[in-house]
């Protein structure tokens, strides 16, 4: 679905300043139906990587292929963005229209679809994120979590094959975070949508089927969440924490199976350890 091949990227700088590479040689392959979490601390290059995935930024060297199309090919740009939808951190800055349903329709309108088809897609997209009852509301009166779900619906209406979410929960309260994460996991499990979630929340990454740790522009770990999070010391060396469940079991000492990352599994494991 997405193939990243020895990717390098650096932001342009003024003369005299030293150029610093934000992405320093990443190679990855993301398969159809996967739920990949890109995890890294601030400044690790994870958001830059996201912007490289659908051609907002163009690689300095190396290449990104979306369904076989190179993102550096300008003629294919619309086609690539139609396949790979993107949701950003701040819901306020990605909502264009003054009515929810008109905002969700924005991408379809740009695609030049007939009105009936737009109507169908808008209704389906709003249904999928559970926002149908708000379709005639003004976006600025919604809560953060609701706004972000509208933004997701706006991308869904393009009927993309993959959705890239760049820290979609960073500006939300715990309730909003929960709403959005529920919508994202449902998209992956029920609709089989390929998801790339950029985050620095460990518990969100733990819900993915694969976790890639990005540090200083490189992919340093790439495995299932269980295997990644059980390497507590390795995670710390990349200035990252582990989920609280793993942290607890790690503190309790050896002999515990650190791959039991969900709360229920962790509770069972500790019970077994204590008895």
């Amino acid at each position: 679905m997405i193939k990243i091949d020895n990717l390098h990227f650096a932001y342009p700088v003024d003369d005299g300043e030293e150029q610093k590479e934000a992405i320093r040689g990443i190679s990855l392959e993301i398969k159809r139906g996967e739920f990949v979490a890109l995890l890294g601390h601030n400044g690790s290059g994870k958001s830059t990587l996201a912007k490289l995935l659908n051609g907002i930024l163009i690689p300095v060297s190396g290449a990104v292929y979306v369904d076989g199309m190179n993102t550096a090919d300008e003629d294919k740009l619309l086609e690539i963005r139609k396949k790979a939808g993107m949701v950003f951190q701040n819901p306020d800055n990605q909502i264009v229209a003054t009515v929810v349903e008109e905002d969700v329709a924005f991408a379809c309108e740009n695609m030049g679809l007939p009105s009936e088809e737009i109507r169908r897609r808008v209704d389906t997209a709003l249904e999928t994120v559970g926002m149908s009852e708000f379709k005639l509301h003004a976006p600025h009166l919604l809560s953060g979590g609701q706004k972000q779900r509208v933004a997701i619906a706006g991308v869904l209406a393009m009927e993309p094959e993959i959705i890239i979410l760049d820290e979609p929960t960073a500006m939300l309260d715990p309730k909003g975070r929960q709403e959005v994460m529920k919508a994202i996991t449902a998209l992956n499990r029920e609709k089989g949508m390929t998801i790339v979630l950029i985050t620095h929340h460990m518990d969100e990454a733990a819900q993915a089927s694969r976790v890639v740790i990005i540090d200083q522009g490189k992919a340093v770990l790439d495995d299932t969440p269980e295997k990644v999070f059980s390497q507590v010391e390795e995670m710390r060396s990349h200035s990252l924490d582990v989920p609280q469940t793993v942290e607890l079991m790690h503190l309790l000492g050896d002999g515990l199976d650190l791959t039991k990352i969900s709360v229920a599994q962790c509770a069972d494991e500790i019970e077994k350890y204590l008895s």
Binding site: L78, N90, N93, T98, A107, G112, S115, G154, M158
Partner: protein
């Protein structure tokens, strides 16, 4: 505090007026306002007032809302009425100092007040019954011929839509910045005008900076949702000239022609 400001407020509904094509409503506004200025006698004014009252009634917009929009211009109305009253020559009733009040003056003063009130009422009715999106859409379609002389009509309409969308967001942000500055001891309420204007600078600078950041992010988000200008764009609700629009047009033409004929031909 600033949150109470309402601009071009829209009240959703399903009346005949609400369902009219925004293009018809925009044209009707212009045509009717021109007709109002043709009115002369009591009969033609009566027709203008009657038509306006009927439209408000049909739209089911609460008269209280119309009155609220009139409150803002009450001083202008009184002022223009007084000027007309005092400076229209004719048969004198009373005179004092350099002022003379004439019968013609009183009539002209009232007529001007009625005109201004009707003008504001119908304009308010347009924004109350038309969603901002429909309004910009209608404007875009109406101005489309200007594209031939290289005026970027679609881009202007898009700018208007985005401006309307961001008014509440920016008002909220201004409120937040002002609270933050107040918490650091800023004083916005005392001192003369110059002092107060100066106090606003620390509010405006961060507001501008954040607006640029927002604009940048919005542009990226729009590109990600395949925005590439107006060419080949379709709409969720395409504007269609339907049966009710035909009825609306006929009524409008009849009323406006009636006003002009009554005023100019019969002098009523």
């Amino acid at each position: 505090m600033i949150k109470d400001i309402t601009l071009g407020q829209y009240f959703p509904g399903n009346s005949f007026i609400h369902r009219l094509d925004p293009r018809i409503k925009l044209i009707a506004l212009v045509v009717f306002i021109v007709s109002i200025f043709f009115a002369e006698g009591l009969v033609s004014y009566g027709l203008c007032i009657g038509f306006t009252v009927a439209m408000v009634a049909i739209s089911k917009i609460k008269p209280k809302l119309i009155l609220r929009s009139l409150r803002a211009i009450i001083i202008i109305v009184i002022f223009t009425a007084l000027l007309n009253m005092l400076y229209t020559p004719g048969k004198e009733i009373v005179s004092f100092w350099i002022f003379k009040i004439t019968w013609e003056g009183i009539y002209a003063g009232f007529a001007m007040a009625v005109r201004v009130i009707l003008l504001v009422t119908v304009s308010a009715l347009l924004t109350y019954t038309t969603s901002p999106m429909a309004l910009t859409d209608g404007l875009e379609k109406l101005l489309l011929p200007l594209k031939k002389i290289k005026i970027p009509v679609h881009e202007f309409a898009m700018m208007m839509t985005i401006a309307l969308r961001f008014i509440p967001t920016l008002i909220e942000e201004t409120d937040k910045i002002m609270s933050a500055q107040k918490a650091r001891g800023a004083d916005f309420e005392s001192g003369n005008i110059i002092k107060r204007a100066k106090a606003l600078i620390p509010v405006l600078v961060p507001l501008f900076v954040s607006s640029f950041r927002r604009a940048d992010e919005l542009a990226t988000a729009m590109e990600c949702r395949l925005y590439h200008g107006g060419s080949g764009r379709t709409r969720l609700k395409s504007l269609r000239y339907g049966k009710i629009d035909a009825i609306g047009t006929i009524i409008l033409v009849l009323v406006c022609a009636g006003i002009i004929v009554l005023a100019k031909v019969f002098g009523l």
